[in-house]
Amino acid sequence: MSITEIVLRLHANSYYFFAILLFIIGFHTMLTHNNLIKKVIGMNIMDMAIFLFFVAIGYVRGGRSPILEPGVNHAFINPLPSALILTGIVVAVSVTAYALSLIIKLYKHYGTIDAEEIMRIRGGGSL
C-alpha cells in the first residue's frame, strides 16, 4: 500500500492511533519514573487513553450529540460508550484518590515519595 493510503488510514483511525500513542506514553511514564506521583499520573494517562479509545468507538463522523429535537434528524453519535466512560472516569478517579492517599501514607513513613529514596531508607534494598 502506498504512503497516501497509510496516511488516509491513519487519518481515518486517527482516534485509535492517538489513543494507543497515549496509552504507550502513559505506560512509559509509569514505567520509568521513580516519583510515585508521576507513576499515578502515568496510570491516569493510560486510563484516559482507553477512555478516548472507547469514546472514539462510539463516535460517528459528523454526528451530533444524541439529543432528540423534533423534526431534526441528524446522525447521532452512539451514546452508550460515553455513558460507560462516565462510569469509567469515576472509577479512575477513585482509584487515583486511593493511590494518592497511599502515597501520602508512604510519605508519612519515609518523608519522600521517591522510590529510590524509599529503598535507601529501608536499607534492605538490594540495589
Binding site: D47, P81, V91
Partner: protein, 495 residues
Amino acid sequence: MNFSQHLPALIVVVPLLFAFVMPLLARWRKQWCVPVTLGAIIFSFAAALQMAFQVMSTGPFSYYMGDWPPPWGIELGIDYLAAFAALTINGVGLLIIWFGSKDLLHELKPEVLGWYYTLYLLLMASMVGIVITNDIFNMFVFLEICAIASCGIISIKESRDCIEAAFKYLVLSVLGSGAFLLAVALLYMVTGHLNFTFMAEALPEAMVLYPNNLLVAMGLLVVGLGVKAALFPLHVWLPDAHSSAPSPSSAVLSALVIKVYAVAMIRLLYLVFPRELLGIAPVMEMILWMSTLAIIIGSMFAIVQDDIKKMLAYSSIAQIGYVFLGVGLMSESALVGGILHIFNHATMKSMLFLAAGAFIYGTGARKLSELKGIGHTMPIPTIAFCIGAFSMVGIPITSGFISKWYLALGALDVGRPFFTAVILISSLLNGIYYLPIVVNAFFSKPEEAVPAPKQLPREMLVPLALLSFGVILFGVYPSLILGIVYRAAQLLLGL
C-alpha cells in the same frame, strides 16, 4: 413483590448497603459492627444457597436490573458456575470474617475496625457481582471495586509493608483492569454489545471480519485477568500483598479474590469467545503452560520460604495454577477438577491462613523455625493446619485429593499424562514444604523455652474447626458439591 426473585440483585446490594452503614455503626454502636456484618454475609449466603437450589432445580436463570432487558439493561445471569462461586464466596467469607472479628482486634487500630468491615462487605459484594453479572462492563466496574477493596483490606493495617504492598497491588491491578477495559472496548467495537449472550451470538461472524480485534482482545483479557489472578509470570505482586496483610485479609485474598478472577476468565473464555477461535488460537495451550510453570515454580519458591504466611502465599500461586490447569485442559473432568479446586482451595487455604493467623495471635511467631512444638501448646489450630497440609498434599479423605483426582483424570482423558505427572510432582513438593511444619509442630522441641501462648477465643476456634471439618467432609462426600460443579462444567463445555 416476590422477594425471592430479586435475590440476584439483593445478594449484591445488601452487603453493599451495609458496607456504607458500617462506618456510622462504628461511630455510634461499635459492638454492632460484627453482628451486622455477619448478618449481611449470612443473608447473602442464604441467598446464594437459595439461588443454588433454584439453579439446580430449574436451571440457569437471569435477572434484569430495573427490568431493562438486555441489550439495554444490565443482566445478572445465574448459571451453575455463578451460583457455585457465590456460594463459595459467601460461605468461606463468612467463616473468615467470623474468625477475623476477634483476630482483627489485635491486628488493627480500633478506630479503623469499622472501616475494615466496610471494605470487607464491599469486597464480598463486588466478588459476588463479578461472578453473577452477565454484562462485561458491569464486570469491569465490579473488578475495580474489588481491586480497591482488596487493596484496602491490606493497607488498612498501617504498617509500611502493607502500604507498599497495597500500592504495588493497586498499580498492577489497575494495569490489569486497564487491559481488561481495552479488551472490552475492542469487543464492543466488533460486536456492539456488552452482554455476554449477545456478544457470544455476534462474535462468530465478527471473527471472520476482524480476527485481530478478537485476538488482541483475548490476549488483553487473559493477561489483564491473569494479573489479578496471579497467573504465574504475573504473580509478582501476590507474595508481598498476601503475606503482609492481616491474617483474615490474607485468607480472603488467597482463598477467594484470586479465584474470582479465575471464574471471570473461565466465563469469558468459555461462554463469550467462539469455540472455533479457541480451536485455532492456542490460548488454552498457553494457559496450560503458564499454569504448569505456576504449579512447579510456585511450589519451589514456597519450599525456600521461612515466613509462614509468605510460604502460604507462594503455595497459593501454585494452587491457582491447578485451577488454570483445569481450565486449560478443556476436558470435562479437568474442568470439573479446576472448578472444584476453586472451592477446595478456598477452604484449605483460608484454613491454613487462619491457622497461621492463630499462631501469630497466640505466639507472635511468623518464622517456621519458631513454630516448633506449637502442636502441644496450641493443638486445635495445629491440627487444622495439619489437615490443611494433608489436603494440600492430596492425601485421600481430604478434599484436596478429590480435585487432584479429577485434574489427573482430565489430563489422562485428553491423553496427556505429562500433566498428571506435573500434578503429582507438585504434590510431592507440597509435601516437602508442608509436612516438616506439622512434624516440627508436634515432634520437636523449641530451642529456648517459649512463653505459654495466648488462649484463642471461641470465635477463632470454631471457624477453624468448621473449615477443617469441611475439608474432611468434602473429601469424603464430594458429591455434596459435585453435582453443581458437573453441571457447570457441562454447561461451559456446551455438552
